[in-house]
């Protein structure tokens, strides 16, 4: 059984020298999805697959599926609404959680 | 241990003389210190610089107060600053001057030995400039006795490059021409 990953080093001896972090993108262990009050929903019948939503997402949490449609990773989506606001074919709606 | 104090004006190269003397002594296996007065004086202002020379490692790092030898690079300083201040009674005052030792003794009130050499004339002739630091270094070597003039040659060459030979010639002339006399 693998040990559960600690949130903090428990002791000073466990601190990396200089608090260096050697695991790139390890911030992903922190799920910002809980910050969200509303979430974006895509209507793929209106989506023209332009990718504006992907491009303008400050979280970088919108990705393209195999068919070229887009979706947000709700583990990280903070619900800012930029994708909804910028989607000019109006394929995205913000809905209450 | 011998202590030397140099008097000059900012820009006249007293610090260079101090360095060359220290290097020559060290070259011979002796121990030496050379240091400027650590003041904010600029070009033209009266400045002092110091040497210590010994056969043993030198530990004292305070100022020089009772020098054995005082060298005055610029005659105009005699009377302007008390060049004989603290000079040991059996010490020697070396002055760049065409005047007589008596005249120097009268102004400085120093009763010990006075050595004079017309360093300015030598510098004009040998270097073409009235900068007397190396010239007076030659005079000092003669008066000091315990460090050879030749020990400075390599350091003068390193320091002055193309004009090293002129400086060496000026040093040698002052070495030969300086006269030590007891006035009193």
């Amino acid at each position: 059984m693998t040990k559960a990953k600690k949130k903090w080093p428990e002791t000073w001896q466990e601190c990396t020298p200089g608090l260096m972090v050697f695991e790139p993108a390890s911030a992903r262990s922190y799920k910002t999805g809980s910050w969200r009050a509303q979430k974006p929903i895509w209507d793929n019948t209106k989506c023209i697959k332009c990718g504006v939503c992907y491009l303008f997402c400050p979280e970088g949490c919108i990705s393209e599926d195999a068919e070229g449609y887009f979706m947000a990773d709700l583990d990280y989506c903070k619900g800012c609404g930029i994708c909804y606001h910028e989607c000019w074919p109006r394929a995205i709606k913000m809905v209450e959680e | 241990m011998i202590e030397v104090r140099w008097h000059g004006r900012g820009g006249q190269g007293a610090v260079t003389s101090v360095e060359l003397l220290a290097l020559a002594a060290i070259e011979e296996g002796k121990y030496a210190q050379g240091f400027p007065s650590f003041g904010p004086e600029r070009r033209g202002a009266p400045v002092a610089a110091f040497n210590r020379i010994d056969d043993h490692p030198i530990k004292v790092r305070s100022g020089v107060y009772t020098p054995d030898i005082v060298v005055v690079l610029d005659e105009s300083l005699v009377g302007l600053v008390n060049v004989a201040d603290g000079l040991k009674p059996d010490g020697i005052l070396i002055v760049n001057t065409a005047k007589s030792p008596k005249e120097i003794a009268d102004v400085t009130k120093f009763k010990g030995k006075i050595a004079t050499v017309d360093g300015s004339s030598i510098a004009w002739k040998e270097l073409g400039v009235p900068i007397t630091n190396t010239t007076m270094l030659g005079a000092l070597f003669k008066v000091l006795g315990r460090v050879k003039l030749e020990s400075a040659t390599g350091h003068v060459e390193h320091r002055f490059g193309r004009v090293a030979n002129k400086n060496l010639a000026a040093m040698k002339r002052a070495y030969d021409e300086v006269k030590i006399s007891s006035v009193n």
Partner: protein, 321 residues
Amino acid sequence: MKGIVENFDLYAPKLVDKEEYFSSGHRACQGCGEALAIRLMCKALGKDTVITNATGCMEVISTLYPTTAWKLPWVHVAFPNSAAVGAGVSSALKVLRRKGKIADRDVKTVSIGGDGGSVDIGFQAISGAMERGHDMIYICFDNEAYMNTGIQRSGGTPYGASTTTAPAGAASVGNKTWKKNVPAIMVAHNVPYVATACHSYPFDFMNKVKKARKVKGPAYIHCLAVCPTGWRAGSDTCIKLGRLAVETGIFPLYEVENGKYNITIDMPKKLRPVDDYLKLQGRFRHLSPDERKTFQELATLEYNKILNNVKCSKSWSDLKG
């Protein structure tokens, strides 16, 4: 139509590096323009990059020990010295490569900071680093106040904005002066590539970053980064506000290559009135009609100065005697 998503090619994702060098899980506010700008900057830079970061929002929200949002090598030392740290990194990479101690390939040093850390407290370090000609890019992410410490006025704050240290009140309009023109100061440093940018024009911004990267020597980009929190606007208006800043002439997008100014995003013949921009933001809500007029005059004057530079400036290569 450039008004919407600049010269927008459909299928945007195909045109950019898919790698997320600035990962999800960072703690920036909802709708943070600066986080978006950083994300886009990284995509334009690619992996052979070292980032030095001034203290500020982006540093605090990205590297809470023991985690990091960065997939690029990254170093933060203090608030005012990102450019100096970058100068050191750049010099080290240069000499270590020359000595064969690291891989023999180009790695670009990119120093970043907010407006406070760049145009105010970090300004001396930027001036020094740019003037000495290090091979590095400095990118200022300008959200027009000290947002990390709570919306205090900086040299990047525009006229009339109410901040916590230049608050609007019965006897005050808020901030009394226009933004410091740091790009012009960088041009005066003989920096061969200087540009303004905004995340709302992502391809323009990324192209400028790529251009800056190609410069052998210093380059400076001043990127407007909308802060919905500090500007007191809806988080979903982030992109729109950036666009309005450009279309009103408040923040024109241009580049200066070897002294020659060029507008990179076509401006409308008739600029949109600044009111379109001001009315969406709480920081300007208090402005009276007269003050809005003053704002308009200042914005127009600054914009005309840029246009004049575009018209009159020549490339330094044309000025050689």
